[in-house]
């Protein structure tokens, strides 16, 4: 076995790595909300607490395909989740991700 491979990291190194991870984590979440349409979508989803994609499209001055793209980005960042409900897709917020975002921003 290679001693250096899995040797325990000291506290300083651990914190260093964690900090860099959280740089990326915060950047990913921030980027997801880096467009007004996505802020609006997220707020709408939170307000409605469960909402069908079509409702979001109606609520925004954007094409269905564009909204779908924005939803995809929010989903990839982990901020929302989409569950299939018959022929529709029901979107809802992912509270843990939102909480994590709050935590990271508060911790700045």
């Amino acid at each position: 076995m290679d001693e250096t491979c899995c040797a325990p990291l000291d506290g300083k190194v651990v914190r260093e790595v964690e900090r860099r991870d959280s740089d990326v984590e915060l950047a990913v979440l921030s980027k997801a909300l880096g467009h007004p349409a996505r802020v609006r979508i997220l707020r709408f989803v939170i307000a409605q607490e469960s909402c069908i994609c079509g409702d979001i499209v109606e609520h925004l001055p954007l094409a269905q395909s564009t909204v779908s793209q924005h939803l995809k980005m929010l989903k990839q960042a982990g901020l929302i989740r989409g569950t299939i409900d018959g022929p529709r897709v029901c979107y809802c917020v992912e509270p843990k991700a939102l909480q994590r975002f709050r935590q990271l921003v508060s911790g700045l």
Copy 2:
């Protein structure tokens, strides 16, 4: 005088406009932190509380011109301020903007 011009808005309209403004406001701030390098720069500036541009460049694996670009974006979003200090530029955080960002994210 045109009555419709400066007529008082009713509460509903005011809240509507405020909400849309804050969509953009949150998007602008989020976008500024939508890149790991900028998160790292902001954290560095906060940690050092006052720091020379050159120190930031040393601290990141990026060219000086790239760092300067990122600083410009953070400045344009209002998150940092740069004051000229002799031949150098001293960057520091803009606490009000940071506080506003926290407020907007908490309010989601």
